[in-house]
């Protein structure tokens, strides 16, 4: 995955609605335009956001979901117009909206009004856009009936830039410091973006490492009044390819994307260093990183751990930045077979049913599935032997400790560590022997010998130490083993054999297909 500089026209989100017309949706994997816009505006430290919709449009994204994506109890600067049947069927939203905007209009805070599906449906958008609403509130049409959260974030960021002269810096805001060193903008993250806290911390570390300053972390650590100062930087870094590109393009500075993997990070540092006139510092930082942060990476790489990589297949289902980044890092740099990969959200999102089929039919099954809760459910429902590693929303998770980045050198180390731990977990789960306490001896050695029939043919089923396997049982066993990651196949084979023969002995039968089916249910897809 080459580092991309500057934004091409064709990379911008299209003007047409970006949610494809779908006949049926199973387990939706992305939020809508109102949520995306709300997450951008609410990230600004001086914003009060008023969603023009019923109470559910407010509490679902800003109280219920945010608590499980960002571990924030609720977004204190978001409210809604609390539409009821009167407004929807008769009065329109403007009356209650004005009231709510009035409540939200306090000194030093900028009010953002965001449309929701209900207000758009009843045509309140036009009215709101053209109404006189006292105060300095601005209205953003979130196209929530059609656009998804990603496009809406991109549009909302651009909207902020286009309205930059409208926003006022608070009187009590700390003064902007004189510029001593080259500086960069970090565009993104916003609320509701998987793992962004760690990724942001890592990008900040990299920027500081090459001797540059941070101009603005926008919108996450900025106020609306700072918007115009985006122009003061020397370069921009877009955290996630999903959004922020339109803003970066309008700001017009050299633009870089947060890198995933070793080589991309090195290219990123060199490219950024060049753009900022800090080439020597960038090179020095890369040299230092090899001895510090990346020493762990190099040690793991040189250990036996990496011997398993070629036989440890994985699947990646994530939004574009993570899907492309993880696929490149694991597939190209580490050499793990990528059995399947798909975009989890965005216009090219793979339908859930397609993902389900691909994962369930994969042979062998992936050792780890990187995905969202949808994949987690697929693993459980299809009884796959795969481990699950979350790399996308939806799915409740806590990712606030900043030590779990995917991007940068620290991200490369963290991901490598997780992959190795998955290897160890898989090994442990498939150890062939787990006799604790050991099985009891039921007779003396001599008695055991005497009791055993002479040969299998005269044995009476299952009485001999050599147990007969029926052809169906063997075939089913083979089929099952193919689903197991290669590097533990021997262990699983031993374990299955021991368990199957123990059961056969207990029942006094051959190892038949029934016994294998019973034992391998945990490895087999539901039929």
């Amino acid at each position: 995955m080459p580092v991309r500089e500057n934004i091409q026209e064709k990379e911008l989100p299209s003007d047409v609605v970006n949610t494809p017309i779908r006949k049926q949706v199973t387990d939706l994997d992305h939020a809508g335009g109102d949520t995306g816009a709300m997450q951008v505006f609410a990230s600004l430290s001086d914003a009060n956001v008023v969603l023009d919709g019923p109470v559910g449009c407010h509490v679902m994204p800003a109280v219920a979901v945010i608590n499980y994506t960002d571990s924030v109890p609720y977004l204190q600067n978001v409210t809604c117009s609390e539409l009821s049947e009167t407004e929807v069927t008769l009065a329109g939203t403007l009356g209650v909206l004005k009231e709510k905007v009035g409540e939200a209009t306090v000194a030093g805070r900028q009010v953002f009004i965001v449309s929701t599906p209900v207000s758009e449906l009843i045509g309140a958008t036009w009215t709101t856009e053209h109404a006189h609403i006292p105060g300095s509130a601005v209205f953003f049409d979130s196209h929530s009936l059609d656009d998804d959260e990603w496009k809406s974030r991109d549009r909302a960021l651009l909207f902020l830039w286009q309205n930059r002269d409208h926003f006022v810096r608070r009187a009590d805001a700390p003064p902007r410091l004189p510029k001593l060193r080259p500086s960069v903008n970090i565009i993104g993250p916003t609320y509701g973006n998987f793992n962004s806290y760690s990724d942001l911390a890592e990008i900040k570390r990299l920027v500081a490492g090459i001797g540059a300053d941070i101009n603005l972390v926008y919108p996450f650590e900025a106020a609306s009044g700072d918007t115009k100062h985006l122009a003061d930087a020397d370069a921009s870094i877009v955290m996630y390819a999903e959004y922020g590109r339109s803003l970066a393009r309008e700001v017009g500075l050299p633009t870089f994307f947060a890198p995933i993997g070793l080589e991309p990070t090195t290219q990123f540092l060199r490219g950024l260093g060049k753009a900022l006139g800090l080439e020597a510092q960038a090179d020095a930082f890369i040299r230092l990183e090899k001895k510090t942060t990346l020493a762990a990476w190099h040690d793991i790489w040189r250990s036996t751990h990496s011997d398993f990589f070629a036989n440890a297949p994985v699947a990646v289902i994530a939004p574009p930045t993570y899907k492309d980044g993880l696929t490149y890092y694991m597939g190209e740099e580490l050499g793990l077979p990528i059995l399947y990969s798909a975009y989890r959200t965005g216009p090219e999102s793979a339908p859930n049913e397609e993902v389900r089929k691909a994962l369930a039919d994969a042979s062998p099954s992936p050792m780890v599935v990187f995905g969202s809760i949808n994949e987690r459910m697929i693993i459980a429902q299809e009884k796959m032997p795969s481990l699950f590693f979350q790399c996308s929303f939806p799915g409740a998770v806590v990712r606030r400790a900043t030590g779990t980045p995917f991007v940068g050198y620290a991200g490369a180390v963290w991901l490598l560590q997780c992959i190795c731990e998955a290897l160890f977990d898989t090994l442990f789960a498939n150890l062939p022997t787990s006799a604790a306490p050991p099985a009891r001896a039921t007779s003396t050695t001599r008695d055991t010998m005497l009791a055993a029939p002479e040969s299998v043919s005269t044995s009476g089923k299952g009485q001999n130490s050599v147990i007969n396997w029926t052809d169906e049982a063997k075939a089913l066993n083979e089929k099952t083993l193919k689903r197991v990651p290669f590097f533990v196949r021997v262990s699983v084979a031993k374990k299955l054999r021991a368990e199957a023969e123990a059961l056969a002995r207990e029942r006094g039968s051959d190892v038949d297909a029934g016994i294998i089916a019973e034992l391998t249910a945990r490895y087999s897809p539901r039929k």
């Binding site: 017309i21 006949k23 387990d27 409210t79 009936l145 059609d146």
Partner: protein, 434 residues
């Protein structure tokens, strides 16, 4: 700050209960992806590990009017492929505003019932109302009584062992639990018409029980077997309504009442003040227990609508110094936290977050309380134990609150070091009257 207490989207109360039905295959017609994402996210988090199906929606689809045709073919396809007992059609804000002709959907496909559940959240207002709508919509589909009626229908989400405990008590007075809804099977709802009495144990199933009285002639009683007074009153109400032997009923009611009293006597909450805010309807019952255990609860904040079924409950609480606030202003509630020595807050996520910031032990109502039994002696013991455990963690909450307040100039926000100039709790109660 919002006047409506923060609960989930009201419609989720219904979606949640329908998703928990094992032989139902709900279709959620969302207002848009933001709406559907919210419902899907929380459903997959704590309701069920199962797919959520929806027809695709967009402005183009609404404008073309193709949504209904898609829905119809989806319903037929799902019924033929999976043959669930019911396919509930959950119609949220936009589809209900557009007014899809749900009457034109097939009512039955093979053995599958297709049932329209209207959930325009802007009209439904509360979680509780949505749950009422589910029971009402499902039961409305049933034919009238089919056989001799007997037993009590329990209505309301309760702890899994509650129906068994209650059944044991009812058998002593000559009746039994006939069925319990919301339940995991369609058959749980079908059985309702064969019961002799409806007992909504949470005070918001008024539409369901009223319509069942109208259509099926099934009487209903109020209240629940919770707490000292509640247990006695509930058992005697069942006895009276079903004409059971009054001497036996009286004896059993007194016995159960004594058991609850014994449990509460061992777990005194004397001298403790609680703030309680809920949106499930259980909160009425919880406050009853707290008060009977000796606690002070100046007010109960609830997101349940005023409801005829809650009137007696409200009067009982009022007599004991607890005012019921329907839809209290959230900002005022947070303010009220700072002026009184509240020992514990049992409330919504945002309210608890503020309480914890002040060093007040608190628990999120839904996660902690809604998963416990409250009924009879066993339930009373369970709940009060949890509450006492929470209050007992005061030192830990304080330590953390102090640590994070160190750099703040607002340290005096904790009631312990701040003399109130205005009793904000009184202010809140006075301004939020019915």
């Amino acid at each position: 700050m919002s006047k409506q207490p923060s609960s989930m989207c009201p419609a989720f109360g219904a979606v949640r209960n329908l998703l928990r039905m094992e032989d139902a295959m709900p279709i959620v017609i969302s207002s848009g992806d933001g709406c559907l994402y919210g419902h899907t996210f929380v459903a997959h988090f704590y309701v069920a590990n199962r797919p959520i199906y929806s027809p695709g929606v967009s402005s183009e689809i609404w404008a073309k009017g193709s949504a209904f045709d898609e829905l119809r073919s989806m319903v037929i396809r799902m019924a033929e492929e999976h043959q669930p007992s019911i396919i509930p059609i959950c119609s949220l804000c936009v589809s209900d505003t557009v007014g899809l002709p749900f009457d034109l959907l097939p009512k039955q496909i093979g053995n599958t019932e297709v049932i329209y559940v209207p959930l325009p959240a802007y009209s439904v207002h509360t979680h509780a109302r949505a749950k009422d709508i589910v029971v009402d919509s499902l039961v409305w589909r049933l034919p009238p009584q089919r056989k001799a009626r007997a037993g009590v229908n329990l209505i309301g989400e309760i702890f899994p062992s509650d129906p068994i405990e209650i059944d044991e008590v009812l058998r002593k007075i000559g009746t039994h639990v006939n069925t319990h809804v919301p339940g995991p099977r369609w058959a749980d709802y079908v059985a309702m018409v064969d019961g002799a009495l409806n007992a909504p144990v949470h005070p918001f199933y008024s539409e369901s029980v009223k319509r069942m009285k109208m259509k099926q002639g099934l009487p209903f009683i109020e209240g629940a077997p919770v707490g000292v007074d509640g247990t006695y009153t509930w058992i005697t109400s069942v006895g009276r309504e079903l004409n059971l032997d009054s001497a036996t009923v009286e004896t059993v009611a007194r016995q159960e009442q004594a058991k609850v009293r014994a449990v509460l006597d061992q777990r005194s909450l004397d001298g403790l003040t609680f703030m309680v805010a809920g949106y499930e309807g259980h909160e009425f019952l919880l406050v009853r227990l707290l008060i009977e255990a000796g606690a002070k609860v100046p007010y109960l904040s609830t997101a349940v609508n005023t409801n005829p079924l809650a009137r007696e409950e409200e009067a009982w609480l009022a007599e004991r110094g607890c005012k019921v606030l329907y839809g209290a202003n959230f900002g005022d509630e947070i303010a009220a936290l700072t002026d009184r020595p509240y020992d514990c807050v049992i409330g919504t996520t945002p309210l608890c977050a503020h309480a914890k910031e002040l060093g007040i032990p608190s628990i999120y109502y839904t996660n902690a309380m809604a998963t416990r039994s409250m009924m009879l002696a066993k339930g009373a013991g369970d709940v009060i134990d949890l509450v006492r455990q929470t209050v007992g963690a005061k030192v830990r909450y304080d330590r953390i609150a102090r640590f994070f307040a160190e750099d703040e100039t607002r340290l005096e926000r904790t009631y312990t070091s701040w003399a109130p100039k205005l009793d904000l709790t009184e202010h809140l109660i006075a301004n939020q009257a019915l």
